[in-house]
């Protein structure tokens, strides 16, 4: 393994991602920022091999290194003055603020993720969808210096995996070139960063023990955990989709356009991983239009924002499907042939919805695949409905998004014949779980539980609110000057 190559790529991920976050003026807590920088940095580097091919530049080690450096410099060129040495002090203070319970869970999470990282390193990618698509394209790109390589001279009637967007193949090319012959280690960086981001978000609103248990429930979803080391598209797709939703709700709460545009970019990246995500993004439109209406946004802005929301993911879709496949690859492919245009048999949609619910969500093999995660979500949701009967803006947006996925996944099964139940739909459900987890941090019952634990831990403290503020940052009163929109 080339350690220097790995360090180089980690630095490039961080700085390119951080540059992008600065560009969009995204402000989050320290660890969330670091994690988010890594995630977006991985996506930026994933684009490089395709971009090189689009400009007819050979995909050689030198060209990949130079273009990675160029992209990183470009993203940071106007933002470099925003870097502060004082940030390093925040790292020390944030480490000092880790409680004992935090430390217990962090240690546990590290122990749980070690086997995943090792398996990523030790074994080559082996899922059939990867071997017959991104993996073979990546292997032959290394030999032939282009993604438009001899793989496309084969008879490819038995697969369509070579047509999937080049997110996985792009990263496999870069990592095979610079780090390890099996590539794949980027998956550990991606999933690790995502978990750090999630934990940081959970801790904003919940007591360490409650946040820790919620994240543990998420990590221990057997099917999802497996895909932290089995290379496929769905885990990464779920990450980008949930980040997109999170920043959309930040836009609604904070009323800052930069969050909205960053959200659309994240949805674009989600589409770059799985093209059909575009359908789910379009299904989010009613919610977005509703918020625009509620906020009495000027009509021009409404049109501009709605257009951006759809066009950005569509650009990601079109660059691959409309330009690269159509004009660069030596094969003929018509998206229309892959879509079901017979809308008379709507019963297919309802039977898929029913099968998905009975087999994977509320019965069948649900426990085997997802353990008790869905059950816990249902119990918490029901408790909030029955006992508290109120949801904050964030919770409402998350519940709507979960509903979109619940209807959207069977709809995709209806629209796309190869979108089967036991593989594609089952893994598409991954997108739901981070949203359910984010709902947990807004759950009234879990917030009440958090407050009770804190009150119990510090009964003699004169200012309980001060302790709550210290342990759960987002329960602190809003600072003057910061306009908050939804009920928090």
């Amino acid at each position: 393994m080339n350690i220097a190559g790995l360090i180089f790529l980690i630095l490039m991920h961080f700085f390119s991602g951080r540059g992008l976050l600065y560009l969009f003026n995204i402000k989050t807590r320290l660890w969330a920022t670091i994690a988010l920088s890594m995630i977006t940095g991985i996506l930026i580097i994933a684009l490089i091999p395709m971009l090189l091919d689009l400009f007819f530049i050979p995909i050689t080690t030198e060209n990949v290194i130079i273009s990675t450096l160029l992209v990183t410099i470009l993203l940071n060129s106007t933002q470099v003055k925003k870097y502060r040495i004082s940030t390093l002090k925040h790292i020390t203070s944030s480490i000092k603020s880790i409680t004992l319970t935090d430390a217990l869970f962090l240690l546990l999470f590290i122990l749980l993720m070690i086997p995943s990282v090792w398996r990523c390193f030790y074994f080559p990618a082996y899922a059939r969808d990867i071997l017959s698509g991104p993996e073979i394209i990546a292997e032959y790109t290394l030999r032939e210096k282009t993604m438009i390589n001899s793989v496309f001279s084969l008879n490819l009637e038995t697969t369509n995996n070579h047509l999937k967007p080049p997110f996985v193949s792009g990263l496999q090319i870069v990592y095979k070139m610079l780090v390890h012959p099996f590539g794949e280690l980027w998956l550990s960086i991606l999933s690790g960063s995502f978990l750090i981001w999630l934990f940081s978000l959970m801790r904003e609103k919940l007591h360490p023990a409650v946040a820790g248990f919620c994240l543990l429930l998420f990590i221990a979803i057997p099917e999802m955990y497996a895909y932290t080391y089995i290379l496929l598209f769905d885990y990464a797709n779920a990450i980008m989709f949930s980040i997109g939703i999170y920043f959309f709700l930040q836009y609604v709460i904070q009323q800052k356009a930069n969050y909205f545009f960053f959200s659309t970019l994240m949805f674009g990246f989600a589409t770059f991983i799985r093209s059909e995500t575009l359908v789910l993004i379009c299904m989010l439109l009613p919610m977005i239009l509703f918020f625009f209406y509620k906020e009495k946004l000027p009509v021009i802005k409404r049109i501009l924002y709605t257009g951006t929301f759809v066009i950005v993911p569509f650009i990601f879709y079109y660059v691959w499907m409309g330009i690269f496949i159509k004009y660069y690859l030596p094969i003929k492919f018509n998206v229309g042939d892959q879509v079901n245009t017979d809308f008379s048999h709507v019963n297919i949609f309802f039977s898929r919805l029913s099968d998905l619910t009975s087999s994977y969500l509320l019965g069948g093999n649900s426990t085997m695949h997802y353990a008790y995660f869905i059950n816990v979500f249902c119990i918490i949701l029901l408790t909030d409905v029955i006992v508290y009967r109120k949801f904050n803006t964030e919770a409402r947006i998350l519940l709507y998004s979960i509903l979109v996925l619940y209807i959207g996944i069977p709809l995709l099964g209806f629209l796309i014949p190869w979108y089967d139940l036991d593989n594609t739909s089952k893994r598409a459900l991954f997108k739901m779980f981070p949203l359910m987890l984010l709902y947990f941090r807004n759950s009234m019952i879990l917030q009440a539980l958090s407050r009770s634990i804190i009150n119990w831990e510090s009964p003699q403290t004169k200012s309980v609110q001060a302790t709550i503020d210290k342990i759960i940052p987002q329960m602190a009163k809003p600072k003057p000057g910061i306009k908050k929109r939804g009920k928090q």
């Binding site: 409680t99 004992l100 319970t101 217990l104 546990l108 122990l111 749980l112 070690i114 086997p115 090792w118 398996r119 030790y122 074994f123 080559p124 082996y126 059939r128 071997l131 017959s132 993996e135 073979i136 292997e139 793989v151 084969l154 008879n155 490819l156 009637e157 038995t158 697969t159 012959p181 099996f182 023990a209 820790g212 248990f213 543990l216 221990a220 057997p222 955990y225 497996a226 426990t367 085997m368 353990a371 008790y372 634990i453 119990w456 831990e457 510090s458 009964p459 003699q460 403290t461």
Partner: protein
């Protein structure tokens, strides 16, 4: 206050023990996490890339390498190999032998392959057969040769002499 924080910590640890004793989480912990501790010593001793590929890809990978070895003896410039479907191998009594699909064969061995039913089947210039338990490559010179081999694939005769799976 510190005592209560410590009590929360102990209670959390106790709840974690209960959590990992719930059936699905116990199973997950045993099969995906704790199994790692038994796998790791052997894996550390075997860091060779080829070993790791064979372990992960299994018989399909071994098979592709065998086919590559066989083709190298025939000195064809651009071999295109007609591969039987898995049911042929099973009918020959060797279910443990896994036929790689053509695209995966190309990944593992850089060899082009075709399977019965594909439109390029008549481009094949070599074919894979199992004769008396031995994997053999036969040269295909004409459409007739290919048709004969396809007939053999379609009606495989059980081979009772099978002992060894590879030539």
């Amino acid at each position: 206050m510190q005592q209560r924080t410590l009590a929360t910590l102990i209670a959390t640890a106790f709840l974690l023990i209960i959590f990992f004793n719930l059936k699905p989480y116990r199973y997950w912990l045993d099969s995906r996490i704790l199994s790692f501790t038994t796998e790791i010593p052997e894996q550390i001793d075997n860091l060779d890339l080829e070993y790791r590929r064979e372990t992960r890809y299994g018989n399909g990978y071994v098979m592709a390498k065998e086919i590559l070895k066989l083709t190298s003896t025939l000195h064809y410039k651009n071999p295109i190999i007609l591969l039987p479907r898995q049911n042929y191998v099973e009918a020959k009594g060797i279910p443990q032998l896994v036929m790689p699909e053509p695209i995966v064969l190309y990944l593992f061995s850089r060899l082009q392959g075709v399977v019965p039913g594909e439109k390029d089947v008549y481009k094949a210039n070599m074919g894979l057969k199992i004769i008396k338990g031995q994997l053999e490559l036969v040269e295909l010179h004409s459409k007739n040769d290919i048709d004969n081999l396809l007939k053999d694939y379609a009606n495989p005769q059980p081979d009772n002499l099978l002992k060894n799976t590879r030539s």
